[in-house]
Symmetry: C2
Subunit: 512 residues, 2 copies
Amino acid sequence: MKNSIGVELPDNLMNQYHYQPFITTKFDYPEISRVAPVVRINTNQSKVVDSLDDLIKENVKDGMTISFHHHLREGDQIFNYVMQAIINLGIKDLTLAPSSLTNVMNEMVIKAIKAGTITNITSSGMRGTLGKAVSRGLLKNPVIFRSHGGRARAIATGKIKIDVAFLGVPNSDEMGNANGMNGEAVFGSMGYALIDARYANRVVLLTDNLVDYPNTPASINQTQVDYVVKVDQVGDPTKIGSGATRFTKDPKELQIAQMINEVIVHSPYFKEGFSFQTGSGGAALAVTRYLRQAMLKRKIKSSFALGGITNSTIELLNEGLVNKIMDVQDFDQIAATSMRDNKNQQEIDASWYADPFNKGAMVTKLDVVILSALQVDTSFNVNVLSGSDGIIRGAIGGHQDAATAKLTIISAPLTRGRIATIVPKMTSITTPGASVDVVVTEYGIAINPQRRDLISYISKIPDIPLYSINELAEKAVDIVGEAQLPEYFNRPVGLVEYRDGTLIDVINQVKI
Amino acid sequence: MKNSIGVELPDNLMNQYHYQPFITTKFDYPEISRVAPVVRINTNQSKVVDSLDDLIKENVKDGMTISFHHHLREGDQIFNYVMQAIINLGIKDLTLAPSSLTNVMNEMVIKAIKAGTITNITSSGMRGTLGKAVSRGLLKNPVIFRSHGGRARAIATGKIKIDVAFLGVPNSDEMGNANGMNGEAVFGSMGYALIDARYANRVVLLTDNLVDYPNTPASINQTQVDYVVKVDQVGDPTKIGSGATRFTKDPKELQIAQMINEVIVHSPYFKEGFSFQTGSGGAALAVTRYLRQAMLKRKIKSSFALGGITNSTIELLNEGLVNKIMDVQDFDQIAATSMRDNKNQQEIDASWYADPFNKGAMVTKLDVVILSALQVDTSFNVNVLSGSDGIIRGAIGGHQDAATAKLTIISAPLTRGRIATIVPKMTSITTPGASVDVVVTEYGIAINPQRRDLISYISKIPDIPLYSINELAEKAVDIVGEAQLPEYFNRPVGLVEYRDGTLIDVINQVKI
């Protein structure tokens, strides 16, 4: 069976996992039934437990699904602590269902896979040693990759049924009222974790900061929490901020950022009340700065900024250039602490942000989004999961979700070192070209032919070369030569879901 | 079959409604499965509709359950508007499941019953002409009375399955992001309505104040809302505040308030960090004032105030005498608008407030509560639903829920006019005596013999006469003579659930 992008999907896999092939980004489902957790009633038993081991023994059984959030990113000190305890207790055959996996978790996940503790994973992505190991076949069953909105959908509809969620928080009271805004390990919005807290059968908070009852504001509240575990340190505050939030000095990135800004400013969407998501990464941050100048010059204000929030978005909010920040995660400490003090910075959960099976997620209202790419193919499909060598080294994040914006701009250098970014065929497909409008490289831009309407606007921009996507791909070949696709075994190690739960691609085990 | 209070429960009724008899206030259930709504997916269709009629025709079918909230109290202009439209469309056999019914809704409910539009009701209570009509047999099926916590439980477990919720809000954007804090019809916390928004299959917001997208803070958010209907006026602001929030000048009430204050101050619970709920009503408000003086004098601060919030609680918060207000509803405009500006005033939903099938509601942490009574019997059971004539004229509210506090004080005049409050046998039972600790009348107080431990504290209070509850009942007889119980037909018109969903009493049709 082939999906609408032309990817061959093995029948046995489709049957085993009950998948439908990806068809369209403009899906139109009538209604769905949500699921709900089993709630253990607490009539005032203490929730604070001393022994994590006892808690795990009582609540985590072979074959269950456990979850974590990744808001603490590379500073996370919860995942390894909990996972080691679970391995030590000899528990087997777990499904690991975190909101995403960061590098700091890699060695422990590998250890847990080798011990038979973890036999299934669903995640937004993975990188480094874990990505390499999984790409080479370490895990028995394929990893299911889901976008942030796709994960919210899968949890809300019961595709992922979390038995126990372990959630690190920078503060909690004895009953489990907690937020991400106060304490040492502040990370701001708990957008992804809120879904786990709402749907998991058991919710365990781990905190280094037990505060007086009742703790407010309570992003997670006591009606959702079974246990509170006191730990020495939830996270290393210096590593909680994403590494990719510094303003770039790379001339190539600055050039791309300037072009992106020109595309936005010349588009019909750049008008009073427009909304945008820039995300993290050097070029994206630079775009925000350029946008600021353009907004001041044109006297235009934005209705809302969405997604992962950085210091540069906070500046726009404080300056009054952005009315509201709709905040599902914060990429730096300034953004994280700002949420506490600014009521125009609204914490939103992953469902509100991006769940496609919903009464309307924020992304459906998004005008402009800038997204990154590991590879872009000549049909405008984008890959953010696997490298040119076929090794998994990325995460879907909100990519598929935010790409549904009215103007989706992919920011991509034409080449990285000796590797082409714009290629005829990618190692995997994350986001369908149907939702991608413009690709911006340092050499020039390509407009998706499906968006003929944009050509008239963008062709007016002085000094920006307009190419077809094939021309950009050829230019890349001119520079670095023909790209070699990696060799694969016929064994799936990753299934890439589109945000509606259809199958968009299968990643096979690499031969290297 | 008799329940543990000795109430005879008709077998056919128990079977028909699948009831268990009330057994204990200290119930201990292991776990429950929650339910979840069916969600109609919205991929960016407009939610703002012009025609309420079309919306009703499309979504409200014969036999469905519809809900409303009562946060707008006697100022509500939504209920009558929607209900009239439903009657006009000839829809039949609906179950009406509002958080409560206020007097302004009475004539329309009677009309809807007579038209066959409403054949079942579940509510916290009812008063006035509706209470009278129902008590006299107007409705085919008995009304099910549930506490605020009991309603949250019933909805979360699927006992009440709301098909369409109609919720009036003082502001909303086009996607349904709304709060109770801004606009003309400000009512503050939307605590009861939040449950409807979370569990109803269809959620309709009605507002007179359509604001820019995205509207924050969003107590109800766009992921929960199907329609937004613009109306001329949601509510009359002058009538939104409960009538019972003025400081009393009645010497009897002041005397009771003073005694209640003495009981609290001499109890072991009046210490640093104690928590309390005073509610509305003249005596309760006076107690808050007296408590303030006692707190200042003893240099004691409260950790939280709970429940329906009044201006006098806000004063304590602003003065720093109360750390947090956990706010499920506001009884006046000052309390309502304060929530917008004070982050220590946390909006909580009815589940967090009082749902007994929960990982811990606020009421389980409550030290002191003052509650009112229409009648108290000599077993300390309390009736807040029916008058001495058997006519339904009250509401359970949070009575059963908050009565689980460590120190539950019932504030009750010994007599009202020529009617005794403390009686051998009441017209109906709302709250079991097992959860009532002290009854305070203007003549003196009675301590529940189950709370022998309190006697040593309270007997130390100078100038406060301590009686047995029988002595108080006899004193009432001395003043107003023997109370006559009304005569009833053998036909149930009301079923009174305890908060855990067991049956505590049956109210029969009166013969007057």
